[in-house]
């Protein structure tokens, strides 16, 4: 028998030139289905005016990021069981630090501009993107294989970052992680972009980005490593090796 819970889905509503508010929807849900399924059902059967972004439903497109009970989640892979219980409320709000288009949908424009500015790689050799539990007998010459990079450009890290909350000028976790991923020795033109007040030095180690990343990017670690790379590049310049 499929378990059924009764929950209140509390959805953030924001239409143009109107005050924002929350709408409550009483719903019967299977706790093993995902938060996105509940939102989609609320749209399909309760209120067709709800605006939200979603595409792949399996954590590859990065479209469905929202705050679920205040915490950034990729709603397509977040089981309802994980974030609420029978009889309780499930609150969904748009990501922080992005302009709201409507309801749960935000404008990804400024964020994608930053990712483009650092030339974030969308595909890369498999050997450059680590995989947990790799099959033990893979050929070491796996670099011929290409795979989509870990970063989904979902924006959860940008929403969770406390520094990002205070200024749009800060590059942010995902762009910095993307710069680290390419390496300053390989792409020295990135040095001036990340070595500045609003670049790698603005991070104050809250590690909220790493905590909410749904895709193994660990932006916090990458930002710290990028600092090492910046110092490395500057030393090399100093000693005439760059």
């Amino acid at each position: 028998m499929v378990e059924t819970w009764k929950i209140t889905l509390r959805v953030y509503r924001q239409k143009e030139n109107q005050e924002s508010h929350f709408d409550d929807f009483q719903m019967d849900v299977n706790p093993d289905e995902y938060v996105l399924d509940a939102v989609e059902r609320a749209w399909a059967f309760h209120d067709r005016s709800i605006c939200f972004r979603h595409a792949c439903h399996h954590s590859t497109c990065g479209a469905c990021g929202m705050r679920v009970n205040g915490v950034e989640k990729l709603t397509c892979i977040t089981p309802i069981r994980e974030v609420t219980h029978n009889g309780a409320t499930l609150k969904v709000e748009p990501l922080r630090n992005f302009p709201v288009v409507s309801d749960l949908a935000v404008d990804m424009g400024p964020f994608y501009r930053k990712m483009e500015a650092v030339g974030a790689r969308a595909v890369l050799p498999v050997t450059e993107a680590e995989i947990e539990n790799p099959p033990s007998k893979w050929d070491p010459d796996d670099s011929q294989y290409i795979r989509l990079s870990d970063c989904l450009e979902c924006g959860l890290c940008m929403s969770a970052c406390p520094i990002m909350a205070t200024t749009p000028a800060y590059l942010g976790p995902a762009p910095l992680a993307a710069a680290q991923d390419q390496g300053l020795r390989r792409k020295p033109e990135l040095l001036s972009i990340v070595d500045c007040e609003d670049g790698v030095w603005r991070c104050h180690s809250a590690f909220e980005c790493t905590a909410v990343c749904p895709s193994f990017v660990d932006p916090g670690r990458r930002i710290m490593n990028l600092r090492t790379q910046v110092v490395d590049m500057k030393l090399r310049k100093l000693f005439g090796k760059a």
């Binding site: 792949c56 954590s59 590859t60 501009r113 969308a122």
Partner: protein, 388 residues
């Protein structure tokens, strides 16, 4: 002389590829989408860049379309593809019996394939079923659904196309004689209705094609046919793994980022807007997926989802051809100004767009040839970085 105005309803694969083609041919294109890009069937595609091997035996037309478009997409939009090829593997007698017709058909459809001994297959892919009897390599691939669409949409935007998302078509504007002149749409973000006029309205809503044609009093022969996908939390393989046999349920596993996605099933559905996941089908994917990759049995599902394919023509389920159909309703029902494109599969999006744009341009007396085969697409991020 102002440019010809075209409205495209639907920003799934067909809509964005058609916008790209028409924009390149000099039309002023407006795409209207009730949600955001790919929020319908297209977003939830398996993500298989088809080599056509799956269709070679029973549906050669589809198979040739696939292999041709596969090669084109690898050239024009590599940024969204894991181009690592694929395997068809035989695990039992029934599979083995299929091999001969499979080889012949692939050759007939110019799908390059190579036969591998079990030891060779296992060396390439150590995690596939160790009881593999024979394997064939074919040029499959995996793509990112949303980013494929964004690349087309961004390039279209760069050439002047406009995208109105969260804008739902409420009715078609018609002249006195029932011909379509435009649309009336509700912008769900602002709550305001707007009227847009155009020389041609393209109905690219896929599984929802009938919903739009109904607004002109017509029906479209599209049969929404959903299927399930289960994405597991480990990659297991570098290339697509297909079951060597006639197309069936759960016979494809795709690597994508750090996941392995098993698909799919095929059944009828009435309500296309929301298709609930069926537990039995999850179990079926686990069973069938584990036959191909035993490790799946101990992996955890990361995402489970359903979406409705738009299948055209008579018959039901897997027997319907997966080709696409473009209808100029002036010819079908004497209703001018409306063209419907439906059917097809993700891999053939560019070809569907070319056919549709040919039909539209013939109606508008535009003689510019299709440029999309050779035009590399801009970065998928250009959809967001190009101002509307």
């Amino acid at each position: 002389m102002s440019k010809p105005q075209v409205i495209i309803i639907g920003a799934g694969f067909t809509g964005v590829a058609t916008a790209h083609d028409l924009a390149l041919r000099g039309c002023e294109v407006t795409v209207v989408e009730r949600g955001d890009l790919c929020n319908g069937t297209s977003g939830r595609t398996h993500g298989l860049l088809h080599s056509g091997g799956r269709y070679a035996v029973k549906d050669k037309e589809s198979a040739v379309e696939c292999i041709d478009e596969n090669m084109i997409l690898r050239k024009i939009v590599p940024q969204v593809i894991e181009p690592n090829g694929g395997l068809f593997i035989a695990l039992d007698e029934s599979d083995l019996a299929y091999a001969e017709q499979f080889i012949e058909s692939c050759q007939e459809c110019h799908i390059p394939l190579e036969e591998l001994k079990p030891s060779q297959a296992l060396k390439l892919e150590p995690n596939i079923n160790p009881n593999v009897l024979v394997a064939f390599t074919i040029p499959d691939g995996t793509f990112d659904p949303l980013r494929l669409a964004l690349a087309f949409a961004g390039t279209a935007k760069h050439h002047g196309a406009k995208f109105h998302t969260f804008t739902e078509v409420e009715s078609l504007l018609t002249d006195g004689a029932g011909n379509v002149e435009g649309i009336k749409a509700l912008n769900r973000a602002s709550g305001r209705s707007e009227e847009l006029r155009a020389d041609v309205v393209v109905n690219a809503t896929g599984a929802w094609a009938g919903h739009i044609t109904a607004m002109a009093g017509l029906d479209a022969p599209v049969k929404p046919t959903p299927g399930i996908m289960v994405a597991y939390n480990q990659r297991f393989v570098q290339r697509a793994i297909n079951r060597l046999n006639a197309p069936g349920d759960g016979d494809i596993v795709l690597p994508q980022r750090r996941m392995a996605v098993v698909g799919t099933t095929s059944f009828d559905a009435e309500n296309v807007d929301y298709i609930p996941v069926v537990d039995d089908q999850i179990k079926l994917m686990l069973e069938r997926g584990s036959e191909l990759i035993p490790g799946i049995r101990s992996a955890k599902p990361r995402g489970i989802y359903m979406a409705a394919r738009p299948l055209v023509g008579g018959g039901s389920g897997r027997s319907i051809a997966r080709t696409f159909k473009c209808y100029d309703h002036k010819e079908t029902h004497n209703v001018d100004g409306l063209v419907t494109i439906t059917g097809g599969k993700a891999t053939t999006l560019r070809a569907m767009a070319e056919k549709t744009a040919d039909v539209v341009c013939a109606k508008l007396n535009i003689s510019t040839p299709c440029l999309t085969k050779e035009t590399p697409l801009l970065s998928y991020r250009s959809y967001y970085t190009t101002p509307n």
